[in-house]
């Protein structure tokens, strides 16, 4: 049986400007999906989320995948991620004056 897990990497957190989730180590997994849900009505214009990878959990680089952040309360956006090595995190970038309260989850599968 393949292994999978759901990890909550940001819960009820306000994202403004540039925000990042805590590093998540998932080298056992072959694939991942990142979901972002807006827990409240976002303020201003929705920004974008970016997938970042790292050799060590300390130094980060953009993986190339990005997706829109939700524009409405309870809207969910996501990105599929493959071949990410060991470390993952999601970075949110919001325009000036915009903010969003997020639930960010990673779903990893071997």
């Amino acid at each position: 049986m393949r292994m999978s897990t759901s990890a909550i990497v940001a819960r009820n957190v306000v994202w403004e400007g540039t925000s990042t989730t805590e590093p998540y180590e998932g080298g056992w997994a072959r694939e991942a999906i990142a979901f972002v849900r807006a827990l409240k009505e976002p303020v201003g214009n929705p920004g974008r989320a970016y997938v970042e990878v790292s050799p060590d959990g300390l130094n980060w680089v953009r993986e190339g995948t990005s997706f829109a952040l939700p524009a409405n309360a309870d809207e969910v956006t996501f990105a599929r991620i493959n071949h990410f090595g060991t470390w993952l995190r999601i970075v949110g970038e919001q325009p000036a004056g915009s903010s969003i309260v997020v639930l960010v989850t990673l779903h990893l599968k071997s």
Binding site: M3, A7, R11, E22, P23, Y24, E25, D56, G57, N59
Partner: protein, 290 residues
């Protein structure tokens, strides 16, 4: 998926001294084994969650990968359960396994664990982890309603405080204020891992092998015995040291209406610098005498 999942079960068990009944033999080479984050209570809105709980995050399966030396691995396989705090002084994180018990008798918890701060500086950083530890959250069966309690034995290794290398075992019996959550009178919360109220275990000073740079770790053995009938701790060992637990006591609360026969086991880490504190569990064996 994990090659080490094929490691002989008896070989893994031979590293432990369990009581006759194995309740759980959690070798994290097999996966998460039922360990999850300790999420705070809430009703209607997550805003009701106490800040101590809001900071908690999901545990990981880690190879202890380091920037300078690569993956460290576990005692006998690739993976360990990793509990990481946020990079902030005083930050805590907790992973928990939730069970109920079949018999109110002796139980034994054994584990192989280690801890380090995140290796973000080229220094030994031996005082950057404030504490690591474990707790049980227990409650009598419903037949004991009216006379029994919710009992929470806590033990921590106070590694450092305010930059000083302390290295001693402590317990906690002082309860913390209970906060009602929501309006339906069904949920309460209390942050029992608050930094105050810890007391020294008699003779509990112990210098653990820490090694010489932040990316070298050594695994430690701990064993904690508890009697669910008397709700008393009956023994504690770390590596070669057996401690006197005659002065140990637990947080005791009135029994709660939804928690009968609860047998929860949790491990926690706490940072003493603006740097992530990392607690790794290689394996946990929970056994009972029934």
């Amino acid at each position: 998926m994990f090659a080490a999942a094929h490691v002989n079960y008896a070989q893994t068990l031979s590293r432990f001294d369990p009581l006759p009944r194995i309740i759980a033999m959690d070798d994290f080479d097999r996966g998460f084994c039922g360990w999850t984050q300790l999420v705070g209570n809430y009703e209607d809105s997550l805003d009701a969650m106490l800040p101590g709980y809001a900071q908690h995050s999901s545990p990981m399966l880690s190879t202890l990968p380091h920037w300078d030396a690569g993956s460290h691995g576990g005692v006998d396989g690739d993976y360990a359960l990793k509990i990481a705090t946020r990079p902030r002084i005083g930050a805590q994180n907790v992973a928990i396994k939730r069970l109920t018990f079949r018999k109110a008798g002796p139980i034994r918890m054994e584990a192989y664990l280690t801890f380090k701060p995140e290796a973000s500086a080229l220094k030994l950083s031996e005082t950057d982890v404030r504490s690591i530890g474990f707790l049980f959250d227990l409650q009598v069966g419903d037949q004991m309603a009216g006379s029994g309690h919710r009992v929470m034995p806590h033990m921590r290794f106070l590694n450092a405080a305010d930059g000083k290398h302390i290295q001693k075992w402590q317990f906690k019996r002082q309860s913390v204020p209970i906060v009602p959550i929501g309006t339906e009178n069904k949920t309460i919360s209390h942050y029992h891992l608050s930094p105050d109220g810890w007391e020294d275990l008699a003779g509990g000073d112990q210098k653990l092998c820490y090694n010489e740079i932040p990316t070298k770790v050594n695994w430690h053995y701990i064993r904690f015995d508890f009697d669910l009938a008397s709700m008393q701790c009956t023994g504690f060992r770390c590596n070669d040291r057996e401690f006197d637990v005659s002065g140990f006591d637990s947080i005791r609360l009135p029994a709660m209406k939804n928690l009968w026969c609860m047998l929860n086991l949790a491990f926690f880490a706490e940072a003493d610098a603006d740097k992530r504190a990392l607690l790794y569990l290689d394996s946990v064996c929970l056994s009972g005498d029934f």
